[in-house]
């Protein structure tokens, strides 16, 4: 039975309709700290943030799974994105040579298209027979030209609509995902501001509006510190019923940045760091924990390969801020280094200039439990993982007490 002093490897508070009432009742029993922590989930469900570098207090004890610790910042790292990507594909080649076979979760989005482009570029036709492409009609619709030219009749394809990672693992495949692709380049949170910049500043004071208008195109300029954008960041963090949340959340992020060992300067750096540091674990393990019912979570975490989760991609990410490779100045040039890599393979101008970031995982992997009907084991009930890799379900003994006790004791410490 879970004890309030136990250490976790993962936690999840989700406002997804299933447990809103429960978390609302917990919130009513908490002080300012616990209320703030639940508000993170109200604003950015699901809340699974944990720091890999710098201060980020949590209501409970939690450690980073060693596999996902952040590599040391190395300002001299000089490999290009293309080089890191080609080396990743070469690693797949070596594994295929040893008899391994891989299943690519292909949504048609930038991350999974990058993976496919790298394999198309680096693998022989014979080696490609060890690749299974998991796709849906959405995958085709996102990039039909790529599908026609490079996938149709060239790779084995399986309908991903009703499959989960457990099926692929049981069939002997090593699933490859691009789930941490966002962490390498930045974040959906930032794109939300960039897409609504003019509207947000229209609500601000004339002085603030004028200042923010003058720096609108400087989102990836390291000489324009992110604090210049504080007013629009706070607007983006606005949460009904919690007027203090934006300032509290901003200050928590700033404290984390100020205590980290990696330079964070521009507005895009600010949002990049939020996902590269505090949201990385979620991106890296959510597939294993929520799109898998049968394989134990430790096996799933260590079997599923996240293409972008290796030291070189992370080191590249830490030394390539504000040089036009992550974003130039707008949502249509986000992930520019990946767009360029793909373009060098497919020469598709439309995709390079117009592709937007979508939420892909749920469109290519089944979310419904398919092999059992026990509602207490539904993915939505999964709220954490212990340090012994035991999956925690909300209704398990001690779990609700664990969250309530720790949230009640949590204090604002920033």
């Amino acid at each position: 039975m879970l004890n309030p002093n136990d250490t976790l490897y993962f936690h999840s508070i989700a406002y997804d309709g299933y447990h809103n009432r429960y978390w609302n009742s917990v919130k009513q029993q908490c002080g300012e700290g616990g209320q703030f922590f639940i508000d993170i989930a109200r604003k950015f469900t699901p809340s699974r943030l944990v720091s890999r570098n710098g201060d980020w207090s949590l209501p409970w004890q939690q450690e980073i799974i060693p596999e996902f610790e952040m590599p040391a910042y190395d300002p001299s790292f000089s490999k290009t994105y293309e080089q890191v990507t080609d080396e990743r594909a070469q690693w797949v080649r070596q594994e295929i040579a040893q008899g391994k076979k891989f299943a690519i979760m292909y949504s048609g989005g930038i991350d999974s298209t990058l993976i496919m482009a790298a394999l198309i570029k680096n693998l022989t036709d014979e080696e490609k027979t060890s690749i299974l492409v998991c796709a849906s009609l959405h995958s085709i619709a996102e990039n039909p030209t790529f599908w026609k030219k490079f996938i149709q009749d060239k790779f084995k394809v399986i309908d991903s609509g009703n499959l989960k990672y457990d099926y692929l693992i049981e069939q002997g495949y090593i699933p490859i995902t691009g789930d941490t692709g966002d962490t390498i380049f930045g974040t959906v949170m930032g794109l939300g501001i960039y897409a609504n910049y003019d509207f947000y500043i229209s609500e601000l004071s004339p002085e603030s509006k004028s200042h923010l208008e003058s720096i609108k195109t400087e989102i990836s300029n390291p000489d324009v510190h992110f604090s210049n954008y504080k007013d629009i960041i706070l607007r983006h963090f606005k949460l009904d019923g919690s007027p203090d949340f934006p300032e509290l959340f901003y200050r928590k992020l700033v404290k984390n940045i100020n205590t980290s060992t990696v330079p964070v300067n521009s507005l895009h750096d600010f949002f990049w760091w939020e996902i590269f540091n505090t949201k990385y674990l979620n991106c890296a393990v959510r597939g294993a924990l929520y799109f898998n019912d049968r394989v134990d979570c430790k096996t799933a975490i260590y079997t599923i390969i996240d293409w972008f989760h290796n030291d070189d991609y992370q080191r590249w990410s830490m030394v390539n801020n504000n040089n036009g490779q992550k974003i130039v100045n707008a949502i249509n040039n986000y992930k520019m280094a990946a767009r360029n890599y793909i373009w060098n393979v497919d020469r598709n101008d439309w995709y390079k200039h117009f592709k937007l970031k979508f939420l892909s995982l749920s469109s290519i992997a089944g979310t419904q439990p398919v092999d059992h009907l026990d509602p207490t084991r539904y993915p939505a009930k999964r709220v954490g993982v212990t340090k012994d890799f035991e999956m925690l379900y909300l209704d398990d003994p001690g779990v609700k007490e664990f969250f309530l006790t720790n949230l009640q004791n949590y204090k604002i410490d920033w």
Partner: protein, 251 residues
């Protein structure tokens, strides 16, 4: 009955509603149409091979936006506009049409600076040119389909729409008499979906007609008449036997 469907076509003052195509990536409208939102939705779907788009029945207050200046126009507040469960900037390629209401205010924001110069500007220029071409062909296809129904002999559409599968289990229903898997109009739409330029699409369309000329003299005639262009030289051979029963409904 007091049906409300007319609200989709006219405002309260009787002014006809227009429609358009919005691009989240460009954050501007790329096309405005005065006539038929069904055709605009089809054009939107055909263009989603290039980028994600959302078709709109335009809200009130967008009267100044035309097909000539729509690249300057966008929504004031996009934060509350959802496409399915996603925000509009994350709307997927399998798209839909949205009906604008007075809260969806549109304003002249000027051109998007992210597409002001370089490759992105060139690609945007090609997109607008191609979008207008696709919309014109989309109209031609959409008009031909019902008006030429008997000439096309699309038994499959009728069967799928009105007859239970069991009734036609031993019958062969076909989209037309060409023998093409999904019929000739599908071929035209697929060409528009997959082509990269007007030249590429127009050439491929000629090839489709040229390779399937039987019983198509009138259809081909109307198709190019609706586009407002001469029948291409390569297809003139199809026009030697226009039936005397031709209905000159377009004149």
């Amino acid at each position: 009955m007091n049906p409300n469907y007319k609200n989709l076509y006219v405002f309260e003052d009787g002014t006809k509603k227009r429609n358009g195509i919005y691009s989240p990536a460009i954050d501007r409208f790329i096309l405005v149409d005065d006539y038929d939102y069904h055709v605009t939705l089809q054009t939107t779907e055909l263009l989603t091979s290039k980028l994600s788009l959302v078709a709109w029945v335009l809200p009130p207050g967008a009267e100044e936006m035309t097909n000539d200046n729509c690249l300057n126009y966008t929504f004031v507040d996009k934060t509350t506009i959802k496409v399915g469960q996603a925000t509009m900037s994350q709307s997927r390629h399998i798209t839909q049409i949205k009906f604008g209401n007075p809260e969806n205010k549109i304003y002249n924001a000027g051109p998007n600076p992210a597409f002001a110069q370089g490759d992105s500007a060139d690609t945007l220029g090609k997109l607008i040119e191609y979008a207008n071409y696709v919309h014109t062909v989309s109209y031609a296809i959409s008009i031909i389909e019902p008006f030429m129904a008997t000439a096309l002999s699309n038994t499959k559409r009728f069967g799928d729409a009105y007859v239970p599968s069991a009734w036609t289990a031993n019958l062969e229903l076909a989209p037309d008499r060409t023998g093409l898997d999904k019929g000739i109009l599908f071929e035209l739409k697929h060409i528009l979906y997959m082509s990269d330029s007007i030249e590429e699409a127009a050439g491929a369309i000629i090839d489709v007609w040229k390779n399937n000329p039987d019983d198509k003299a009138v259809v081909i005639y109307y198709f190019y008449y609706l586009l407002g262009v001469e029948i291409p030289e390569e297809l003139k051979f199809t026009q030697t036997a226009l039936p005397k029963t031709i209905s000159w409904w377009l004149f």
